[in-house]
């Protein structure tokens, strides 16, 4: 009797873990209206993206003529992509190649900045959440305030600092500055506050572990999600950062990033700058610009797909009290 009761209770628990179907299962007017609205909103976002990707596969003359059918899907071909790539890759002095250089530089500063951000943010977040020290609260508030300061405001002071050490035009100051990532500290702080009970730290102390050992042996092994989150957000922020590379790297031809390089491509297109474009060997019309933009998005897409598992779990950081 007692075992039957246990089974019933276990079944009830199991049932409680089965996702419930939300909403009506019948095709009521309300349900149809909801689905139609959602499809409409989705279409608003999806159509431009499909058109944009298709543009990278089209021919400039057909684009100008408005042919190629719905969203230009009828004019897509690999030959067009190869031609557009020859134009994009041909941009730059001495036979071109600037675009690949920009992508390489973006990878260096984005990866470098993300690594530094993780190395700084995880211990900082841990310290703020689980250690007690003087001015801890002030540091936390300053971190929060720094998070909301717009990047553009910092560009001139940062330029002056980098200029003072004669490093304008070099990649490493950009990497170092990108490594300063207060949002990562905040994410890490929330992670340790919610997933690492204070009692665990106390127990480790009682067992004789020092503070550094507690961080390395107890906190770090359970930080995989926080590391993935901080690295992902830092990489995206670094890759799309425009003002910092513009201020610090514009004076060095070989060290520009793709975020400012794309603007140079647009500035050299006959569509936006006819007289300038007239003097160029390459012609950068819509398909070429779309291809360059699409290629510059690929690292972000790859990272997003690769880190999806951590991101899906990590988005609940802070949602549940530990």
């Amino acid at each position: 009797m007692a075992s039957t009761k246990k089974l019933v209770v276990r079944d009830a628990r199991l049932e409680s873990h089965v996702p419930r179907v939300v909403g009506s299962q019948h095709w009521t007017p309300g349900r149809i209206a909801r689905i139609a609205t959602m499809l409409f909103v989705a279409a608003i976002f999806i159509f431009p993206m499909v058109g944009f990707v298709a543009m990278a596969f089209r021919d400039a003359d057909n684009v100008a003529a408005g042919s190629d059918g719905f969203l230009g899907l009828g004019g897509m071909s690999w030959d067009n992509v190869m031609f557009s790539w020859s134009q994009v890759n041909g941009f730059g002095p001495g036979g071109g190649g600037l675009f690949t250089t920009w992508i390489g530089n973006s990878l260096i500063v984005s990866v470098g900045g993300a690594v530094l951000a993780v190395l700084g943010a995880i211990p900082a977040g841990y310290a703020l959440s689980r250690l007690r020290f003087r001015f801890r609260r002030l540091v936390l508030i300053v971190t929060l305030v720094t998070m909301v300061i717009p990047n553009t405001v910092l560009v001139i002071p940062l330029f002056l600092e980098v200029s003072a050490i004669n490093a304008v035009g070099e990649l490493w100051p950009v990497v170092v500055i990108m490594g300063f990532y207060p949002f990562g500290v905040y994410l890490s702080y929330i992670h340790f506050m919610t997933t690492m009970p204070a009692e665990l730290v106390e127990a480790a102390r009682i067992d004789g572990l020092g503070e550094v050992a507690i961080f390395l042996q107890v906190a770090t092994p359970i930080s995989k999600q926080a590391v993935a989150l901080v690295a992902f957000f830092a990489f995206v922020a670094n890759w799309t950062n425009f003002f910092l590379p513009l201020a610090l790297l514009s004076s060095n031809q070989q060290n520009k990033t793709v975020s400012i390089g794309l603007q140079e491509l647009i500035g050299s297109s006959p569509l936006f700058n006819p007289t300038v474009a007239a003097g160029l060997d390459v012609k950068l019309y819509m398909p070429q610009l779309a291809l360059a933009t699409f290629l510059s998005m690929l690292p972000l897409l790859a990272l997003f797909i690769g880190a999806q598992r951590f991101l899906m779990r990590g988005q609940t950081v802070g949602a549940v009290k530990g």
Partner: protein, 445 residues
């Protein structure tokens, strides 16, 4: 429950953080404390030159011709009207270093801030390049003469000649007009007799250069660094306005701009128009693909009652040199400036624009005319040279962009079927507004 003491601590902490962040923001946002008056430095010889993408071959030709000079060539964003360049120079002034030793300005308007008291980048070339300056027609380099000093060198001259479709004129027995008034009348006549044929484009940012600058209309009459005369009621503006009105009402001009995608179709219907010398190769030949032997250029038009032709200017880039250098670095930068302005290796062999420097124009014409594209080939190239001296010199490049204002006011008015008068009125108001926004005192007399 918080105690009074802990609450006080929290309040104090927030206050300290708030004050600290406010101070930080104020410091970061404070305006430039320094102007362009900096100490001159000498690198010992190495120079850095900034060029937009089409001018990269000029810099590379210099590197080939002068291997003894260590030259760092940087390709910059060539966006016309971009504001990033000015921002970068403001940063260099703050830092007291970082300026390029020579630059090709992506926009001609850049010379206004580059010579202004705040940035003060462009060097006075009057004495240092006196010999080179002798080779320029004063009208060609007039935009570089600022407060009686030569602050830049013109790369290429872009005066307007009078273009006409020689085949169409011969087939229909029309005579090429000599005056602006004849041009207006004939344009309307042709539009009536040959519906669809057009005699000009009004929708691009160069349109005010083509018609208003050509008439001497004071839209950009610089009086000093902080004063400008803008008077669209001036008789020179009124006659240009009347001409454009005549073209619009007679359906004789396209409301498109020359760079619009649809202009390639409309361009095939063009029978005559004032237009820059670069229209010939870039627009007619390369972009609109008008067959060879069709178009011809001739002497610019004259306004009734005047003895000489008067014409506008569309583009024509400017080279500037740093005022922050001295010694061997300055000497090498001057060598670079002389090369890009005068050397046939760039000005004849590589560039497609009519050289601003007079002594190389004939060699450029000889090379370009070999293609034999124009109907009256020799006369067209002769008109190119001649036109440069007919450009009114009292038209300065300013901090505000007259062509951009035209494109924001007149172009949409015409495109929407509104009257030209409505667009003209908005154009005048916006010119004055933007001039004031940039700190100019606007005079109307």
């Amino acid at each position: 429950m918080k105690t009074r003491g802990s609450r006080r601590t929290t309040v104090k902490t927030v206050l300290v953080a708030g004050v600290a962040s406010t101070m930080f923001l104020l410091t970061a946002c404070s305006p430039a404390g320094t102007t362009g008056d900096q100490e001159q430095t000498d690198s010992g010889g190495k120079i850095t030159v900034w060029v937009d993408p089409p001018r990269v071959p000029a810099a590379e030709a210099f590197v080939t011709a002068h291997p003894e000079i260590e030259t760092n060539v940087v390709q910059i964003d060539g966006t016309v009207g971009g504001k990033n360049l000015q921002q970068q120079f403001a940063q260099f002034n703050q830092a007291g270093k970082g300026w390029p030793d020579a630059i090709f300005f992506p926009s001609n308007d850049d010379i206004a801030w580059a010579t202004g008291a705040q940035i003060n980048y462009a060097a006075d070339l009057t004495d240092d390049m006196a010999t080179v300056l002798e080779g320029y027609d004063p009208a060609v380099n007039a935009p570089c003469e600022i407060d009686d000093k030569i602050r830049c060198l013109r790369n290429d001259a872009a005066p307007d000649v009078f273009w006409y479709n020689a085949t169409f004129f011969a087939e229909n027995g029309y005579s090429v007009p000599k005056t602006w008034e004849e041009y207006g009348d004939l344009a309307v006549q042709i539009a009536a007799e040959h519906p669809g044929k057009i005699s000009g484009f009004l929708g691009d940012a160069y349109a005010p250069d083509r018609y208003l600058w050509a008439s001497g209309c004071p839209t950009n009459a610089r009086q000093s660094e902080t004063e400008v005369t803008i008077n669209l009621d001036d008789p020179s503006c009124v006659r240009a306005k009347d001409l454009i009105n005549q073209l619009v009402e007679g359906n004789a001009a396209s409301t498109l701009g020359i760079f619009d995608a649809d202009a390639a179709t409309a361009g095939l219907e063009l029978v005559m128009s004032p237009g820059a010398v670069w229209w010939g190769d870039y627009l007619f030949n390369q972009t609109w693909k008008i067959p060879a032997g069709t178009m011809a250029g001739t002497t610019p038009l004259t306004w009734d009652g005047e003895s000489e032709p008067s014409t506008g200017n569309e583009g024509g880039g400017l080279w500037g040199m740093s005022s922050h250098i001295t010694g061997e670095q300055k000497k090498n930068a001057l060598t670079f400036m002389e090369f890009v302005a005068t050397d046939p290796a760039w000005q004849v062999e590589l560039t497609t624009g009519l050289p601003g420097y007079g002594p190389v124009q004939d060699a450029w014409i000889e090379k370009q005319s070999a293609a034999n594209y124009f109907a009256e080939n020799a006369a067209t190239f002769e008109a190119f040279k001649e036109a440069a001296s007919y450009v009114p010199g009292d038209h300065a490049y300013m901090l505000y962009n007259t062509g951009g204002i035209w494109a924001e006011t007149v172009t949409p008015a015409l495109a929407s079927g509104d009257t030209f008068d409505a667009g003209w009125s908005a154009f005048g108001d916006e010119l004055v507004n933007q001039a004031k926004t940039f700190g100019y005192t606007v005079q109307s007399e």
